[in-house]
């Protein structure tokens, strides 16, 4: 069982205009890295367009139509100061959401243990009726809803470690106890939501971090908040909103995560997934605006995903050995 990589050429053609940080070069940098030898075992998959049915589990049909009506024939159209459309944006957005649904299908049907969706536009700021923050459709939420509706999974968790709060994902999932949304993000920056007291119906865990927070803080909140919440929930599938803009080189924020932190965090999530849901993880690209840091962080993240089955096997064997030892000790005493 390998790791699946979902991407589509249309995601490179979503053109946000000269100098925009959410640029096609982000994806090019990622894909160039994932084409190198260490990632040869990745299984690359093309992706279908998301269907209206998939989108409308989260977004009203009127919203979907409104977005497509704004897509320009040429040039750029700004939905707000941050969120820009080009002629290929509609197609890219359909492939982005479609990738997550296709990845969910493959993982639930055990074609692989986990998947990474290298897509843009990102999704976690898109609310059911509001595009914003570079995002058009709430890709991760659409994938979570797909897993519940089509595959009947009772509980789906979304872990969002992008440096910005995923207001869109939260808005989409916070009213349904079948979802758990956990977000770490920098406090007081865009979009301004994600305060601790935003708890949904008890299914939202917001962990704002102060500017300057790094490895130690990440490990602390994992142990004391994220891991306990995840284990409590016992998800049947874990989606990751994988933004890499909490990296210490990112120009749009002030957290200090490193590639190693992303590898570590991924391994922790995979360990919980191995226990709760046979390792089923679908990771979805969100932000990350320093190209070198983004490429290196995605590499660390995907490498951890690829090593997951072996790591899970090791921890399984370790568990068996420990239980045998306890039994022997019990028998001996």
């Amino acid at each position: 069982m390998t790791t699946l990589l979902y991407t589509h050429p249309a995601c490179l053609e979503h053109d946000t205009g000269f100098g925009h940080p959410e640029c096609p070069a982000r994806l090019t940098a990622i894909l160039n890295t994932l084409r190198t030898a260490p990632f040869a075992a990745l299984e690359w998959r093309d992706v279908p367009q998301a269907t209206v049915e998939q989108l409308t589990r989260i977004h009203p049909q009127g919203y979907v139509e409104r977005i497509f009506a704004r897509v320009p024939r040429r040039g750029n159209v700004a939905l707000d100061g941050d969120t820009i459309l080009s002629p290929q944006s509609g197609e890219a957005a359909l492939r982005a959401a479609g990738a997550v649904c296709a990845a969910v299908d493959a993982i639930v049907q055990r074609e692989a243990s986990n998947a990474f969706c290298a897509i843009r536009p990102p999704g976690h700021h898109a609310e059911p009726t509001q595009a914003m923050g570079f995002c058009l459709f709430a890709n991760a939420a659409i994938g979570a809803a797909h897993a519940r509706a089509v595959h009947g999974l009772e509980r789906v968790a979304v872990i969002d470690f992008d440096v910005h709060h995923g207001n869109g994902t939260q808005a989409a999932l916070e009213h349904d106890p079948g979802y758990l949304y956990i977000s770490t993000h920098q406090a007081y920056i865009y979009p301004g939501t994600g305060r601790r007291d935003e708890r949904g119906i008890g299914n939202v865990v917001n962990i704002p971090l102060l500017a300057g927070s790094g490895s130690t803080d990440l490990r602390h909140v994992w142990r004391h908040e994220i891991e306990p919440a995840l284990r409590d929930f016992q998800p049947r599938l874990i989606l990751i909103s994988a933004g890499f803009d909490a990296h210490h080189m990112d120009p749009l924020a002030e957290l200090n995560f490193s590639e190693d932190d992303y590898a570590w965090l991924t391994q922790q999530i995979l360990a919980v997934a191995a226990e709760c849901c046979e390792g089923r993880v679908v990771s979805v690209l969100e932000g990350g605006y320093s190209l070198p840091a983004l490429a290196a962080s995605v590499a660390a993240h995907v490498k951890a995903l690829m090593e997951a089955p072996r790591a899970a096997q090791r921890s399984l064997i370790k568990g068996i050995l420990e239980r045998q030892k306890t039994r022997r000790n019990a028998a001996g005493s």
Partner: protein, 152 residues
């Protein structure tokens, strides 16, 4: 040795300083900062009533990351009026304030300059450099031998 205690703000301040109106664009303010060595510039109405003060810090702050946009809109921020980012109701001092007290204020507030206001109108600005210059003057005078002729 006690010469400095005789100084007042008006002895050291820059009188009738350059000031800007509330509608001045940040782009022009930045140019002002570049061409003069100001750290901050007073904002006044057409009767030179002090409305606020706009410092390099205020200008930087206008471009910092916040909850309003994912990316600060650098171009449009440059077109904003001074009134949008200036510090309103700034601390000001009177021209007759002893300079020693003004020094104390600058240290406590960690600020670089303060506007000087008399009868509700801006009459000067006093900065760290002005106080340092006054200190130098005060202490050099002390070192002048007493027996030498002085024009007083």
């Amino acid at each position: 040795m006690y010469e400095f205690l005789k100084y007042e703000v008006r002895d050291a301040m820059t009188a009738d300083p350059i000031a800007i109106g509330p509608d001045t664009r940040l782009r022009e303010v930045e140019e002002l900062f570049e061409s003069h060595d100001f750290n901050g510039v007073p904002v006044v109405d057409d009767r030179r009533h002090l409305l606020g003060i706009l410092t390099k810090f205020d200008l930087l702050k206008a471009f910092s990351l916040d909850a309003h946009a994912l990316v600060p809109h650098y171009d449009t921020i440059m077109e904003q009026p001074a009134a949008a980012v200036m510090t309103r109701d700034p601390v000001s001092v009177e021209p007759r304030l002893p300079l020693s007290r003004l020094l104390q204020k600058l240290v406590e507030m960690r600020t670089k300059s303060l506007p000087v206001v008399e009868n509700d109108r801006l009459v000067g600005i006093i900065a760290r450099e002005d106080v340092l210059k006054a200190l130098r003057r005060a202490t050099i005078q002390h070192e002048i031998p007493i027996h030498e002729d002085s024009p007083s």
